[in-house]
Structure formats: C-alpha cells, structure tokens
Assembly symmetry: D2
Homo-oligomer: 357 residues x 4
C-alpha cells in the first residue's frame, strides 16, 4: 500500500486534486537537525514548469513540516510534511470517467476501486505523488550524508541518445553529485543538448519520449543487506518501482551479464594501498548475494514515455460499454525522465535507510 | 530477512551443509488438497545432476511435509516442509574461510556475520536454498491454478543465443506451460541445442556463462495490485531478487521503452468479442500503475554467469591480510539458467500469492 | 512505532504543540460513504472542557479530511485527517526540560531521544494524540457497522465506585451504544453521580483518580482471529495499550478465572432456536484460542490516575543532576477515564479492522 | 498468524500430532555461542509427566537444531529447531470431529478452517505448541542475559491461594531466577504445598483449576520501547497472549490503579547513591508511556483452568446439527499454571528481543 519500510516507515498520502499531498516519516533518530531550505531545494528539482521540456503547469510545491521537529531538530515523533495542492480548475471530468486513457492507471483503478477512482489529475496515481517521496528522500539523505553515504543520479538516455556512465569504481561523494545539481541532470552536457532536442521533437509531434536513469550510492561499507528476501537489490527494487513509469531495474552490468562468461563478469578482490578490500571491477554494481561489497552501488532504471499524449487514441468507454476514441487535453510532460531523477535518488534513499538508520 | 509476505508468509531456513533446509508457508486457506507428487515433480525441475549442463553432484531433494496437512488437505496450520541434506563429505574448508571467492557472498558475509559465516557449500547463500523456495512456490501454484492463474517460464537466452519470446497477448494456460515441462526449458528446441553447446563450451573452458529467463502469468483479472509501494512490479521484483544471480528485471517491453515514443508504447484498449476489456498491444507487460490490466503479466530477468569457475582468480586472504590467488575446486554448474527457471516461477508465485490468496 | 496494522494501516503523527496532529488510514475499501458529521461527533466525545470533571482547556478539535475521499466516498487513496493545534501560549518550558514529572513520559523520553524530547504539552506522548486514534476509529466503525459489527464502552469504575456490567450474552447493537452517547458514559446514572463526586473530591484535593472501562463488540461471527500470535486477544491488547494510562486488559471473566475451576469457567455450547451456535455463558469474553466464538467480545481495561497533579512531588533535575521537587502548574484532568471511553472503542475498532475490513 | 516480530522473527509451526513441531528464529546476530544443554533444560521446565500435578503423558521433547549454527555459534542463518512428535496412538477422532469441546478451539477452528481443522490432540492449538515458543525464548534469553537482561517468573496463585510477590524494586538477576529453577516454581514453598493440594483436589473431582503468574524483567535501561503502538506494554501483551489460556495481563500495580489517587500511584524519581535515576516506588511496573523507566519490568497474567475436564458437558454436535453431551477422555492437566511459567518467560523474551537484539 502506501507505507514502505520496517525500520524507517514512509507513508505517502494525497491525490493530485485533494486538499494536499504529504508524507509521514517515522522511526528517525532524534536530535538530528533538518535543513528545511536544503529539503525544499531537493523537492524543487522535480518541480515542473521550469522550462520547455516539461509541462507548463506551475506548482509551488512548498513543503510545510507539520510535526516531528523540536528546536529545529528531529525529536523522535514522526515527521509529517504537507504540500498543499493549489486551486485546481473546476474541470469537467466526465469524459475521463468514461474513457480510459491508454497506459494510465484509469482502467485498472476503476476495476479495483469499484468505480470510485479519483480521476482528477490522476488522483493517487498522479506523478505528483512523487513529491512526497522526494520530501521523505530529502530528509533521509540529510541523515545518510552525515554517515558518509551519498546518492546521485543522472539521465542515462532519452530515446536513443545516451549520456556518459558514472565511473562505478569511484567512491567520491562530490563526483556523484555532479549531475544532480544541474537543471538538466546529465554528465555530458553536449549529450544533454541533443536530448533536449529529442524532447522538443516529441513535443512538436504531440508525442512523448522515454529514457533511462543511472543512480549510484557511495560510502556503504561491506556487509550491508539482509539475506534472501531483504537484500539490497530486493529492497531497492521494491522502493524504486513506486516511481510511476519505471518498467525495469538492473544492477551493475545488468542485462549485459546474460551474455557474459564468468571469467569476464567476476569481480576479483584486492587490498588497496590503505589495506581496504576492493574489487578490480564492479560488474556486480556493489552488491553480492544481496549485500554490499564496499564498492559503489550502481543501478539503472528505464522510464517509459509519458502515456499522456495529445494524439487521438483508441480506447474503451466504460459508461457506454463501447469502443471509443480519446484525445487527452491539457498540458503534459513530453518527457518525465529529467523530473524523475531526484525521485529515483529519493526512492534509493528510502531503501537504504532501512539498513543504515 | 528470510521471511517474505504479509498475507502468505514464506520463511526459508537452512544452510547447504546444515542438517536440512526447508520452508514454512503460513496463511494458506484451509481445506485445499495438496498433491505431493506434483509438488515433488516441480522441485525436481531444479535438481542438479540430470545432465552434462549442470553440476554432477546428485541431490535427492526429497520433500518431506512436517506439518500443515490433515486428511491430505491444508488445515490452517502453517505448512513446514523439509529437505534433508545428504551426508556431505567432511572437507577441509580452511582455504575458503581465508580466501574470498570473487562475486560470491563470502566477503560481505564474513564482514556482516562477524567472521562466523557458514562457508560450507555456500551456507545460507547457497543456490541450494532455492529448493525451499520452489517448495513454497509449488504449493502456492497449486492453489493459484485452481483460481485460473498460471505461471510459466523459459530460458530466454544463454550467452548471445536467444530463444523465441512468449506471445504476450495469449492468455492460454496450456501455452505458458509449454517449456516448463521440458528437460531443457526453451520454446524453440533448435535454439535449445545451440544453448547447450554454448554451455558445454564454457564448461570445457573451465568457465561459466550467463543468460536470461522470461516469465509469464496468465489469468489475473484487472485491478490486482496495490498502489505505490505494493504494486505488482514492486512485489514481484522484491521476491525475484531472492533468487541468487538475478541482476535485473524488466516488465513488458522493459528497457526497450527508454527508446520509444509514447505513441509507440501506449497500449490502446478495446472490447473483445466477449465484451471483455483487452489491450491491442502489451508493452506494459500486463501492469499499469502497479495494477494488472487483464493482459498476461510478463517479465524478464537476467542471470549472471555462475561465479564458481575453476580458473585461477585473484582475491584477498582475510587470514593473512594479503592479496592471494584462488582455484575453486569441486563440481560446479557451468550455467544455472536452466535450473533457475522453476525458481523464477516459484518466486513469481510467492509474489502473486500476496494479492490473490 | 506510530503505525499499526497489516491490512488496515493506521499512522498517527503530531505533537501536542506542533502545527497539527493527524492520522493516515490506508487500506480501506473504496466507494464507502463517510459521514463527516458523525465522525466529528465521535471525536467530540473525547474533547475536554465540557464540564468540571475534565480539564478546563478548550480544544476545538475540528477534523479536516485532507485526502482519501472523492464524491464524498472513500476512493482507495489513504485517508489523511488533520486536527490543527490552536495557538498555544508561548510558555517557558525550561522547568519541565529539567525536572522529570513522575509517572510521565519525560524521563524515559529524554533518555530515548537523546535530550531532544518535545516537552511542550507532553509532545508526542500527550493524551491529545488519542484524538487522531479516535478519528481513525470513527472512520473504521462506520465501515464495521455496515457489516453488522458494533462497538460500545462505558466507565466501569472510578476509584471504588463500580458501574453495572454489560450483559455479555446480549448481541444487540443498540444495547452496547447505551452509554456511549451519554455525556458521562455509564450504564447506571446513579453510580455515575457518585463517580462525579469522587472526581470532584480528587480535584479539590489537588489529586487525580483512576478507574476502569468495559468494552463490548457485537456481531462478530465465529472463527474470526488468527492462530497463536495474531489472535483477537493479541491484536486488541496490542492496540489498546496505545491509549496512554492503560495498565491492564482482561477478556471475559479476566483475572477472576485464576480462582475458578474448569467446571465453573467452561462455556458450554448449544444451538439456539434459530439453529445458531451459542454458549450458555460467556466467561471467555467471546474468544477461544484467539478466535471469536460468535458471542459478544468483552474486555475491561484499567486506567491509571492522571499523573499530572498539582501537589509537590519529589523528582530528579537532569540539568543540575540533583534531586529536586516539582509542582506541576496549569489545568489538568482530575480523571481521564470518561474521556478515554471513546478512545478504547476506537482502539478496539482499529484492531477488529485487521480481521474484517 | 504464526510469525511474531519485526527485528527478531519467530515462526512457529506444527500440530500436536503432525510429524513434528518446531520454530524458526531469524534475525539473530551472528557469532553468539548457543548452549544447547541449557536450551534443553529450559524446554524441559514445561514438560509434562513430571509429577501428579500435570498430565501423565510423557513427552521427550528433545530439541533438535536443524540449521543456523556453525562451529556451535549462530552464523546469521535462521535457527530452525524441531521437536519430533512421538508415535501417537492411532485413535478414533470421529467423536471430537463432531462434538465441540467447550472453551476449546474446536468450534471456532471448524468454522474458520472450513471443516478441516486438525482435531488430533488439539492440532495447532494444542498447548504442545508452547514448546517451540520455549525453544525460541530460551535461545533469546541466552543472548539477553549476555546483555545483562534477566527474565524470571513464578506461580502467583492457584485458585485462591497466593504466593508472595516479587520485590519489584530489586534489580538483581539472581533474585528473579529463584523460583524458575524449582520443580514447582513458587517463591514461598509453603504456599506451593497448599497449591499442590488444591490441584490434586481439582483432579480428584474430575475438574481443573486456574491461576496466575508473575513475571519480572531486570536490567533494562531507561528509554527502551517505541511510542504509541510499539510500547513495551503493547508488544509484551501481544506476545504473551500467544500462550493459550492467558485471559488477562496487567503491568505493575495493574487493575489496582483503578482504585487509586494519583498521589498514591505516581512513582517519584530520585538519584541513587551511584547517581543513577530510580523511582521510589514501582507502581508502573517499570514502564511509562510504553518505555522502560530503568526499574524492573513487572507484569501478571491470569491463566484459565484447563478446559479439558472429564465431567459430562453440554455441547453441540456439528455432524448431527443437534445438541449433545460430551465426556472428554484421556489424560489431562488438572492445572497448567506451573507448566506455563517458562512459557510466559519465553513470550516475554521474544517481546523484549524486538527492542534489544
């Protein structure tokens, strides 16, 4: 459901057009100072309306902490943070209640919720609900960073255009933040320009385009992760699929391993100059048998193209019980990959918190 | 840890060389007849020693149900099933306690468990622990099949050699079992022969080879799956990463979506001749927003090459604190993909059980 | 922590002097109309300031539903409800940060939360946090009542003065609501007057007084409850101890059974005139082996006297590290038993929801 | 269901007449030596057949550790321990399948499990299933004791006859073990003799008798316990009600608090000669607001008289659908309180483990 985690529990609530959306984070240690400005800046990274590459809808997304702080520090009570939904236009939603948008939650949600699915703006399935995930992730990342654990992500590809990859042997915390702070979070800005063109091309064609994201986590000591069902891969994957549009995840060399020989894929061990154990390669993405190896954790996710496109699409009309056609109106993201980058960082942080906080 | 699930709890125990390995399955409805012969046959699909493509070690893997049945039917008590470990050779494990096998659990496990990791045969991280998962999966699949839900998988690739794909528009329960019953579970037997050659080539080179598996689930009605953190993708991924060597999972078109336009990737809806809602394509792998769309659920996983290879490898010696080399002795699987096929089916069944049983 | 339940998850947040307190209720079925007026009325039952028997502090406790409704009905999204904390006087809390109030959370909370416990008004340990529990309980009770399950409670005793007991053989839903709707919820109003005198006596002596509450649940069919760790008694007890000041719980004849013979305590079965199974007595409080027997569920809890009393008390001063004395100022409840009655009903509802919703 | 705990997961399986009963304990730290002899001795404390005060049925109850140890120490893998059920007489259970034993699990279990309840020896509801709980408790207690936390219990009453109470101000670990090691675990042996007479009297009358148990836990530092739903009281109560026949639990002064004034019940703080915070009384049973105060934890439970009595009882016959009478044959415990003492210690240990291990 909408709660994740055993040790650090993250509970998300709200719908796109409800009074507010928000999150409760429980289980955090007390006496930790929360930098609210830094928190807001993180959440702003996913905000729309910043440029031509995302929806022109403006959302202030001002985070308001309702509980859990005392003297500016965590006090052991759960943190509840709320983002109020601005005044939404009172639209006519009758068409969307009848005609199911292809590749959206609409049809399965209508079946599941017995016809009373909140269709306004996508309801609880709106990408807007990733804002509370970012809030939770931003709080947790402040704590993780104090323990020396850093999380960064960047756009790995848009359509066929690929960014450079992270150097997965590099444990530097600054390095993995390189892309995070950019408006368009790529490592190679030239590739970034090409990606932007690709997005505008899709937009001009009343279409959308998919992509992928690479995420890396540094600073985890060896031996973090529980056996079998609660390994790092299990828990990260569980968390990351909460971000809508994610359709796949692969760790380290990922699907490439299916084509390899063991002698190519094994990561041999060595003591480094400081007597610390490292591997000579990092095909495992820092995880063996669900546990950290001491190398950076590294995974990719793929993001499907936004299903909301302005083209005419075939669909069913559940009011008439007949086949129908639909043109989705309004402003949409021609690509959500760039906005999903902080969401993936946040989902990773929520997962890692289960092991470290 | 070693328990998975909220509604149906699966708890796995044992180490490769402990007295036994086994599983407890709790939360099953009562009064359901268990076909123990069918259960044993399913578990036998992962057994080694059947041919030249897997390890020559023979394991009887006789499943013994210790509790949970009355009059041959479930009685509401948890089912506990045990597989006794045969007499293991009393080997000298001192080398393995010192030299960490690359890409195995050894090093992180030693750190995590404070030096008392059961190294014999891989301990709790042995692939042998997938046998209890198969037991749990086989029990659950008997129940799911009675509800019309069928699960099948096949080898999708070994090295560069690819099998045909499932027709992901086909909801037939017989169809998805085609490969499952074969000794070498592929759809296209010619490709299967090429794969076997690939495996033998790796074996002859003292090497191993990776691959991938496709799994499909039919018969799920629309609207199954919980929002956000407990969608089908979250829960299936969580469960499937419990199978050692899985390094990635993708649903439907998977990573391919990153290269697509929305107009190519969206699955348009239609009423079929029986008035049921279907989609005209199934790029979503049967899942939108974490919920089933009524189409077959479809996912791929990649399996890394077995890390146990007979070649000399560099590693660290944690007893001497120095770099060292290691030649792993004994009999190993040159490829575990074919043996992992029923394990993936079982892990999928355990995940689906959380929503349906 | 602050989340309870597997099927229906109730997450409480807030501190007495935070911006707000509130609750998230997740897992509720969709399409159920919520009567917000009825919800507010339930919450008002625990409100203070209604008469001389509770604190004179007025709290509006207006419940504001932030998410989870669409067209006035549940829509499958989690319900989040908030109660804003009124403008709290900016008091000087330095004395309470130093001197630990006896039998309050202060001392253990200071140890647990590393010195940053929100001491204002009791922080997260304030009795005020039972308001969100009442909100959750009230929502759930509306759903339970539609399934024929009713929950009622009354003051069983204040000091030595005892109310009549419920007739635990009576399955009538009206009957168990008799006391709930009264301002001073007792079955026998004469006893109620004596109790009020007792409370005023304590108040006049700058003291407080304890009491007990009886709760009954009707309409549960036989066989509800899970074996061993998740029986009705386990789960109800777990939930009810969330209400501060509860120090004990007993089901049916309770501690009285310790003095009985089996022949006195056993509840013999019979078919009633409608062919339904009933018992001839209900010493079990409607629960055998953790499961409902079809008879009313019945339990008592004891409530300790409010620890906040105006008398001078010995305590430790953690700033000086020396023994000290403390006079607690401000307005306090001389007795909280009457205000706890709806809280116990709510906690029972939250427990029962795990089995029925 | 049959699994308890988040951090330390205890999963019990088996039925009275299944092949075996047992338990899986997961989440234990590695490298801890387990004294198997001490474990067996603990389990032997609940064994029947030792004297005239319990059933004459002999059970060897030999604990066999199946997994989880390596070099005699925990190795991070779950511990699975099994107790084989001896050869049970092949009895005719048709009468018990038809006639529901009063105050047993039979009737609700038949409804719940759709008619396929394992009636043999009480099935999964047999008191025999407390043996695996004792195994788990004994393992956990070995670990807790290393951390300075000790748990002891004794018979507090049988019928009207009361033992002395523990001195709940005394934190000595030896003291609370006084009664545990006795064959008939009481503090005052004279009272113990009177209790034995009471039990024999009940036995001679073909009857049974109830009682109560006091349990104490020493060595917990202040501040242990989570707020609201996961306080010490919530979790201990949840665990303890897993012991069949427990009908109530009260902490510290318990139900007595309902008759008290705050000035009588509050526990004032003081620094002791070593500068440690203590309270001048311990009416709270060592718990305030769900957290430990640093004083001994102290609670009582009541145990109902064994429902199996040889007298003729009225009941329903679910095969004929008519009222009927039943005489329960075989050997029964005239009193189970003495055998329940280690079970209560074990249940307390399982609860405390969630906070400390």
């Amino acid at each position: 459901m909408n709660t994740f985690g055993q040790k650090i529990k993250v509970t998300v609530f709200g719908q796109s057009h409800a009074t507010a959306i928000g999150v409760v984070v429980d289980g955090l240690e007390a006496n930790f100072p929360i930098d609210e400005q830094k928190l807001q800046s993180f959440v702003d990274r996913r905000a729309p309306g910043k440029n031509a590459f995302s929806t022109s809808r403006k959302e202030a997304d001002k985070v308001k902490i309702v509980s859990g702080l005392y003297n500016g520090k965590t006090c052991g009570a759960p943190i509840c943070a709320i983002i109020e939904n601005g005044d939404q236009h009172s639209k006519d939603y009758s068409e969307l209640e009848a005609k199911m948008r292809p590749s959206h939650a609409d049809y399965p949600a209508n079946v599941k919720f017995d016809g009373n699915f909140d269709v306004r703006g996508g309801g609880q399935f709106s990408g807007r609900l990733t804002a509370p995930i970012c809030v939770a992730g931003a709080i947790i990342m402040q704590m993780l960073e104090q323990k020396g654990v850093y999380i960064g992500a960047h756009i790995l590809s848009i359509g066929e255009i690929e960014d450079d990859r992270f150097d997965n042997m590099c444990n530097s915390c600054d390095y993995i933040k390189t892309a995070s702070d950019k408006d368009f979070p790529v490592l190679n800005d030239k590739k970034g320009e090409m990606m932007k063109e690709k997005i505008l091309e899709a937009k001009n064609n009343l279409d959308s385009v998919g992509g992928s994201i690479e995420c890396m986590i540094t600073g985890l000591e060896a031996g973090i992760g529980e056996p079998m069902f609660d390994g790092l891969e299990n828990v990260i994957a569980h968390s990351v699929f909460a971000i809508p549009a994610v359709k796949g995840i692969e760790f380290g060399a990922g699907f490439e391993v299916s084509k390899r020989y063991g002698s190519q894929n094994n990561d041999e061990y060595t003591y480094d100059e400081n007597g610390r154990v490292r591997t000579l390669s990092n095909n495992a993405g820092g995880i063996c048998a669900g546990m950290s190896t001491s190398m950076p954790i590294n995974f990719d996710v793929c993001i499907k193209p936004t299903p909301s496109i302005a083209r005419c699409q075939k669909t069913v009309n559940i009011k008439t019980g007949k086949n129908d056609v639909l043109e989705i109106k309004g402003r949409h993201d021609p690509c959500i990959v760039q906005r999903a980058v902080p969401c993936i960082e946040a989902a990773a942080a929520i997962a890692i918190a289960q092991f470290l906080l």
